[in-house]
Symmetry: C2
Subunit: 350 residues, 2 copies
């Protein structure tokens, strides 16, 4: 979700500077340069797209995981089983971004040979935004799909207990003239970050988002009357393709994000599909569908109908225009604290 | 969704008798016996599982399609392109149930050889319930997934125009002791059938279900505040894998259900995955997850937490106990009308 910070207390940081800062921080805790760069790429891309919850906001957690030795800075994925179309991977407790990038590359390679590649991994860590990996497929004119399980933050319908993750679904598909469909969504009604923002602003949390007492997130749909069993069903679908298929942690066995009591052992699932294996003219048809949808008569002309990814594209444009990402004072203070602790040069504004 | 008819005006029809009736009706309009049986199997299974909207309720439409020559009773699928892991199919305007069953069998065959099979078709017709096809994979201890596009009944967020389908997502995955996960959901908040039932009962239609004026269905999520762009995004994801990938009709180009002005040219997508290509013990882990979820402490002990498919299993049990499907007077009268028109022996109650 694109959530621009208020200008008053904000500061613009150019993308290369965010990258430099993240690499410095991760190297300061012993991460090899190539892996630090892979993680930085992911964090920068999240803030660039406006997924602030998954950007610099997560740096302290990544640093903490390394300092508490629950994530292996040199961990590199290993292929455990393979067919021409599938692979089962052990992420060896490496960074989610390192594991994810490896797995999607392998899925792409298989899709280019037999039309589809399905790569499933266990032993991974938080992989940031799914768009990062579906974008790898997009660059090769393939459809990219990815799923991940997460810490249990969601209460199924009929209970207040958090026993399933916000398990996300991402898809990117290529249209004409560099246009694309880019879905990247949690299967919960809203993200944990959205709840935190409401709380910081002392705003009421709608009952269709989360339980006001426990903070347990609702599945997409919000209430049973409004079909939240569908959002819950999708969360389990994702878990089947991630934790259950891979043999990693799943459901309520997964540790909470930011806790360092055990390995994350997350599971992800990556799919690449080559449209050339099917009807010719895929990109043209997708662009036609997207344009038709965007041109649908809106209720309010100021709020046109969008395609998944349009909001992120607008955000990227605004970052380009501003010359960098606009962070709030809170975010900058958190980064300054990390810089001080690790004796790293703080973020330098534009 | 399981919606039991009221007992007062209802009548129990044994499953073989429903099958006999559907086969007789379809053969009376010129359908060869094997294809009539395939369609009947689908209709009976829908009512057996409690998906009444997709059961006998749809017989008049299937009969009408044949009578108006917009569906080819002898249409049989043809493979247009193939790799060891994928296939592109032309349904040749055959029954959706004939096309779907063929495609999932092919996906299964490929999954058994290379771990995954992806089969995408165009030129199909309404295929009934997705569970029918995912069950084919389940019988072989595979994960089955299927998607279909539909007539445009859903208005994306910010518009009242119906430009995308209720595009459904189904998954079946095998657990231990014949237990299974069975998701079968439209990506709209509720189905068209649910709206029709509310209207028949003169009940208010919640604004999170549909626009009260136009009847346009809301995507899952209901309102933009409650993330209906996610349900809409999922509908487009399904369309990418169905109409766009297959080269069939898509989005608002698809004809309305029950209209006979042009061919349906629906697209479906079928995936089979062999868990043996990944970590051993898939069934055990899935059963553990399902049992943990079912045992989660409920808010109201009378309403336990369910797994997708549990509701249908309960319905099937109640049908078995009753000795058949309990139809309402409305449904029986509609069937009697079809019987009279086609000069077929009417449904015989138990």
């Amino acid at each position: 979700m694109s959530r621009a910070p208020t200008r008053s207390s904000a500061c613009v940081i150019p993308l290369p500077e965010i990258r430099r800062f993240v690499v410095d921080c991760m190297m300061a805790v012993g991460t090899p340069k190539n892996n630090a760069e892979k993680l930085a790429e992911n964090i920068v891309e999240a803030d660039y797209r406006g997924f602030y919850g998954h950007g610099l906001n997560r740096l302290a957690i990544f640093v903490g995981e390394v300092q508490h030795s629950v994530c292996n800075v040199v961990g590199f994925p290993k292929v455990l089983k393979e067919t021409p179309a599938t692979a089962w991977i052990d992420g060896n407790n490496g960074f989610g971004s390192v594991v994810g990038s490896f797995c999607m590359d392998l899925a792409i390679e298989k899709a280019q040979k037999v039309g589809i590649g399905l790569v499933v991994c266990k032993g991974s860590n938080h992989f940031g935004i799914g768009s990062m990996y579906t974008a790898q497929a997009l660059k090769k004119n393939l459809i990219g799909i990815c799923f991940t399980n997460t810490s249990p933050l969601v209460a199924p319908p009929r209970t207040r207990s958090t026993v399933i993750g916000t398990n996300s679904i991402s898809m990117a598909a290529p249209g004409m003239n560099a246009d694309s469909f880019n879905l990247d969504m949690a299967t919960s009604a809203v993200s944990r970050g959205t709840i935190e923002m409401q709380q910081k602003k002392h705003l009421i949390i709608p009952s269709a988002w989360a339980d006001s007492g426990s903070g347990a997130l609702c599945p997409l749909g919000g209430t049973e009357t409004n079909s939240s069993y569908k959002g819950y069903g999708l969360a389990v679908l994702v878990e089947v393709l991630c934790g259950i298929l891979s043999g990693g942690a799943y459901g309520s066995n997964i540790r909470m994000l930011g806790s360092f009591d055990k390995l994350a052992d997350l599971g992800h699932c990556f799919i690449a599909i080559d449209p050339k294996g099917f009807a010719t003219g895929f990109e043209g048809r997708l662009s036609d569908l997207m344009e038709t949808l965007r041109r649908t008569q809106p209720i309010d002309p100021k709020n046109p109908v969008l395609i998944a990814g349009d909001r992120e594209k607008l955000h990227m444009k605004s970052v380009d225009q501003a010359g960098g990402v606009t962070y709030t004072r809170d975010q900058l203070e958190a980064s300054a604290k990390i810089a001080k602790n690790l004796r790293v040069k703080p973020l330098q504004p534009k």
